[in-house]
């Protein structure tokens, strides 16, 4: 027999034997995957943002199928997506209110006192050496740590101020923890009107370094119904359990433009209103 034939036969025999072994092992040690997990994973947005508290969409899908989580816990899914998943699993989809992030500051570079800062362009680094180099201790530093953390590109840094685009924001909350000034809160997307200020200092003190600070003049409180705007020390806040209608902004004519409607704020409608 020629040596070539020996090689072909022996390789063939080894191949067949191994193939049989692999086939047996695959049958015996087969990992059972619930096909529903794969299907739910497909129905999820696949952003892997972690907003649900699980390590990505696949992990969340596993939890949903195991009934440790409900589809509504995914902050990114639209109500239709959630209904799809619930239908597939044969469970009842719960109503979920869409939440969006809002940065409670309107002090961009043109309206606040800022000192020269030449260090690391990162909010969390900046607060360590100069408190953020901004006159206001509570305001947005504007180096975009939140924008960097946003997996959906929903935060824009415009003239040293972080602005959340409510239409792009899915409410994953990744930005909330990155802000060293704790400026970002999650609010119901249906609410338009927010107070874009978070400084608890006295009005006169705030005005020294910021033109758009809330000075708690209460004009907005007077034009809204009782309980819609809440006064908290030297700061007014929207009551998100009983929000005012968007018309309040125009009726109140906030003298510092701290009271804004989110869509107008994003569109830059308040630029140049103040002298």
């Amino acid at each position: 027999m020629s040596s070539a034939l020996i090689a072909i036969i022996s390789t063939g025999v080894i191949g067949i034997t191994l193939g049989v072994v692999i086939g047996i092992v695959a049958k015996v040690f087969a990992v059972e995957i619930d096909e529903r997990i794969e299907k739910v994973d497909e129905l999820l947005p696949g952003a892997n943002c972690g907003g649900c508290g699980y390590a990505g969409c696949a992990d969340f899908a596993k939890a949903v199928v195991a009934e440790n989580a409900t589809p509504g816990q995914c902050p990114v899914c639209s109500p239709a997506d959630i209904a799809n998943i619930a239908d597939y699993l044969g469970i009842v989809a719960e109503e979920k209110e869409k939440m969006v992030a809002v940065v409670r500051c309107s002090g961009d570079a043109s309206k606040t006192v800022r000192s020269l800062y030449n260090g690391v362009r990162d909010c969390r680094s900046a607060v360590l050496v100069a408190g953020g180099a901004k006159g206001c201790d509570y305001g947005c530093i504007g180096f975009g740590s939140c924008a960097e953390a946003c997996p959906f590109g929903a935060i824009e840094i415009r003239d040293g101020l972080a602005i959340v685009h409510p239409d792009l924001c899915v409410g994953c909350e990744n930005c909330v923890a990155t802000c060293p000034k704790n400026l970002i809160i999650m609010v119901p997307a249906a609410v338009e009107t927010h107070v874009y200020c978070n400084s608890p200092e006295k009005g006169a003190a705030k005005r020294n370094y910021c033109k758009t600070a809330c000075i708690a003049c209460r004009k907005c409180v007077k034009v809204s119904e009782e309980g819609q705007m809440e006064v908290d020390g030297f700061l007014v806040r929207t009551n998100y359990d009983n929000p005012p209608p968007p018309e309040v902004v125009e009726a109140a004519a906030c003298p510092t433009t701290a009271l804004r409607n989110a869509s107008m704020h994003v569109a830059g409608a308040y630029e140049g209103v103040l002298k």
Binding site: L116, G119, S125, V129, A130, D137
Partner: protein, 441 residues
């Protein structure tokens, strides 16, 4: 003088610019109309407020008491009334609570405690209590409560007390002047600290660019059984770990304290504060700080009450001759840049430094060129270049593995970096993030 000191690895030699103020004797600042005393003056817990708006206080009246063991009390710098308890700009750029006192001009003294004349026969615990009651913190800059430093936990044997007179930070000359003018008090403070620690002797380390101070202290050292050790000029010679290595040849392991290698290091200004608290019964309400820089008309060393606004400090020094580009509290290497003249002198403010526009440039940070200068000069022998890249990529776990926690924030790496990378700031960030991560666990 004792044996040749060891040279620690690394370090830099910045222009020290001490000539501006080193020959100027310490001057007593006149009484001002008002003082804004920052509440939280130490590294420990903030003290508990004892006064309210409208209260009348005397010089030395307790304003706030310690709220825990690692916390120090606060005393009034002069007599007068409490005008407000509000906020004032803090040294880190964020407003902090402060007590504003309107001086009545009388400067009436009320000692919170009696002097202990016979300290040599007083119980060390009583001496330690006195140091705590006097609100003394490390005056070199860190603001660590002194009584805590003098209380090694049980089982830790302290065999060496080192007095830190290195003053390696450029520009600053306050410690130098104190050693020249109050050599006896330095020694007295050292001897009291030694008694508290149960030691008979102490070593005082001074950089050899201060030969007059070395001579002066050697003249009085014998009486107190204290050795004077001259040290080579090398920044950061005055950092605790580097000083211990230079004098005792011991390395403090990362994450450990000097007391783990049997050493306690005290700044000379702290020693004087100890001497005054014990022997004269004066709490920590004043400190000597250097007011210097090219734009300052009369650079010098001033005895300032805590709570003196920096704007007034600059007036004392004759004002400014040109518009400064930068204001720092502390020296140029470790000092913190300020954005407000309203910030006030604290117990750990070693200097007020102005930098002229032609002395600084606005650099932009460039990519690392891997030249390794930062690695050569790092006195803690970590890898600044690599760690800064880890931090830029938000890999704080990686930075931790590379021992960023060993960084003493001396700024040598930032000083030598030809790419002007903000290395020191990266490390500050990494340390904060790593500590926050540890707290979560």
């Amino acid at each position: 003088m004792s044996d040749k000191p060891r040279k620690f690895k690394g370090g830099v030699h910045p222009n020290d610019s001490k000539a501006l103020s080193e020959s100027k004797p310490i001057q007593q600042a006149p009484l001002l109309e008002s003082y804004q005393v920052i509440m939280h003056q130490s590294i420990g817990a903030p003290p508990e407020l004892l006064v309210k708006k409208g209260d009348t206080v005397k010089k030395g009246t307790l304003l706030a008491k310690a709220s825990g063991y690692v916390s120090v009390p606060l005393h009034a710098p002069t007599s007068g009334t409490i005008k407000s308890i509000d906020k004032c700009p803090g040294p880190t750029g964020i407003s902090v609570p402060a007590i504003e006192i309107t001086a009545d001009g009388e400067d009436v003294w009320e000692s919170p405690f009696e002097p202990i004349a016979d300290w040599m026969n007083t119980d060390p615990a009583e001496l330690k209590q006195r140091i705590w009651d006097a609100g003394i913190v490390g005056m070199g800059g860190a603001g660590f409560p002194t009584h805590v430093k003098l209380s090694p936990p049980e089982g830790k044997v302290i065999d060496t007390l080192i007095l830190n007179g290195a003053e390696c930070e450029p520009y600053l000359t306050a410690d130098h002047r104190l050693m020249l003018e109050q050599a006896e008090d330095v020694m007295l403070g050292a001897a009291i600290s030694a008694r508290i620690l149960g030691l008979k002797t102490a070593v005082i380390g001074i950089e050899e660019n201060k030969p007059d101070a070395i001579e002066k202290l050697e003249a009085v050292a014998g009486k107190y059984n204290i050795t004077v050790q001259s040290l080579p000029v090398n920044y950061p010679q005055g950092a605790e770990r580097q000083l211990i290595y230079a004098i005792k040849g011991r390395e403090v392991p990362v994450g450990k304290l000097p007391m783990d290698v049997g050493c306690v290091v005290q700044n000379v200004a702290t020693a004087i504060a100890i001497a005054e608290a014990v022997v004269k019964g004066i709490p920590s309400i004043e400190r000597v700080a250097t007011v210097t820089g090219k734009p300052v008309v009369n650079p010098g060393n001033w005895r300032l009450r805590i709570g003196t606004p920096v704007s007034k400090v600059l007036e004392l020094a004759g004002g400014i001759s040109e518009q400064p580009a930068k204001l720092l509290l502390g020296g140029p290497m470790m000092g913190i840049a300020q954005s407000s003249l309203g910030v006030t002198v604290m117990k750990n403010t070693s200097g007020v430094l102005l930098i002229a526009a032609d002395e600084v440039s606005l650099y932009t940070s460039e990519p690392c060129i891997r030249c390794g200068r930062c690695v050569d000069c790092c006195p803690m022998q970590i890898l600044p270049a690599t760690i800064s890249q880890a931090v830029e990529n938000k890999r704080f776990d990686w930075a931790e593995k590379l021992n960023v926690m060993a960084c003493i924030e001396c700024g040598s790496c930032s000083y030598v970096c030809p790419s002007h990378r903000p290395l020191n700031q990266h490390f500050k960030r990494a340390k904060v993030e790593i500590q926050a991560g540890l707290r979560k666990k």
